[in-house]
């Protein structure tokens, strides 16, 4: 399980080790953009931007879709940073739930003890 997480982390971090690629993700996190839009925004050749987009796409952080002659980029399915945040939220949900469960269990335990004492009398 650790290896599984590691492989995913490696692909994502390799993709994210570059400031331009992080910028691209930030940009398409706000609004979908075509590769030529991105190339222009980041002051880069189309070929250079295509390479960055390809790396992000391989890591699953970005997906592209060709509509007509324009290839549009949007955030990909594997948003690992989101997944980590989601699992933390999921943990907090269960933490709150288990805290309440523990209170209920505590009340039942005390009730049982009281009844045991009564029985002994």
């Amino acid at each position: 399980m650790v290896q599984y997480t590691h492989a995913r982390l490696n692909a994502s971090f390799a993709a994210l080790s570059d400031a331009t690629r992080r910028g691209v993700l930030e940009q398409i996190g706000r609004v979908d953009a075509s590769i030529s839009d991105l190339a222009e925004q980041f002051d880069m050749t189309l070929t250079g931007m295509k390479k960055h987009v390809g790396i992000l796409e391989q890591a699953g952080l970005l997906t592209t879709e060709k509509v007509g002659r324009v290839r549009t980029c949007r955030l990909g399915p594997r948003r690992l940073e989101d997944e980590t945040a989601w699992i933390e939220r999921y943990r907090r949900l269960w933490d709150a739930r288990f805290d309440e469960l523990e209170k209920v269990v505590g009340t039942l335990k005390r009730k049982e003890k009281r009844n045991e004492r009564k029985d002994r009398k």
């Binding site: 399980m1 599984y4 997480t5 971090f13 994210l16 080790s17 992080r22 993700l25 930030e26 996190g29 706000r30 399915p77 594997r78 948003r79 940073e81 989101d82 997944e83 945040a85 989601w86 699992i87 933390e88 939220r89 999921y90 943990r91 949900l93 269960w94 933490d95 709150a96 739930r97 288990f98 805290d99 309440e100 469960l101 523990e102 209170k103 209920v104 269990v105 505590g106 039942l108 335990k109 005390r110 049982e112 009281r114």
Partner: protein
């Protein structure tokens, strides 16, 4: 009677852990102060279950709770969140083994619904609870995660990511 006696020290903060254990599985663990028998009871008696399943901090109201806890028995929970339409969660119990194991299906998600397995393992006067949500496919779990995270604020996420990357360099 004293609410807390010497044999019942102030409970340590029992940490809840969560992990995506594989492509299809989420696992949550927690140690609860109390015997498995009582933890199981609190999980399977509706009047007790209602007291803890929806903590106030969730901002949800549990409108109804029907549980027929036996193999093949159905359950149905209906929640309300603010002014939104009520949401129903339902399925059936497939394994009910007191006080150590409980398995149920989550059918509101259709074919992509998960199967939840909870095991209760007594350790001294405590019980280790391990809850596993097994999804039918990697895609189903990815979708569950994505649907719960789309409302997130990306700027905060990126800030956290930047920090994380900084520590790795």
């Amino acid at each position: 009677m004293n609410a807390r006696t010497a044999s019942e020290p102030t409970p340590m903060k029992n940490r809840t852990t969560s992990e995506r254990k594989s492509e299809r599985e989420l696992v949550v663990t927690r140690t609860i102060n109390g015997p498995a028998r009582i933890v199981f009871e609190a999980w399977t008696k509706p009047e007790l279950f209602k007291q803890w399943w929806v903590p106030k901090s969730f901002g949800l109201t549990l409108l109804s709770c029907d549980m027929d806890v036996r193999p093949g028995g159905k359950y149905r929970l209906v929640f309300k969140h603010g002014g939104a339409e009520p949401m129903a969660f339902y399925g059936r119990y497939t394994d009910v083994t007191p006080p150590s194991r409980l398995v149920w299906t989550n059918e509101e998600g259709g074919e992509d619904g998960s199967v939840t397995t909870v095991t209760f393992e007594e350790q001294g006067d405590k019980t280790l609870v391990v809850l596993t949500e097994l999804y039918p496919s990697k895609e189903a779990l990815d979708a569950a995660i994505a649907s719960g995270s789309t409302s997130g604020d990306m700027s905060e996420t990126f800030e956290q990511l930047e920090e994380l990357i900084a520590t790795l360099q």
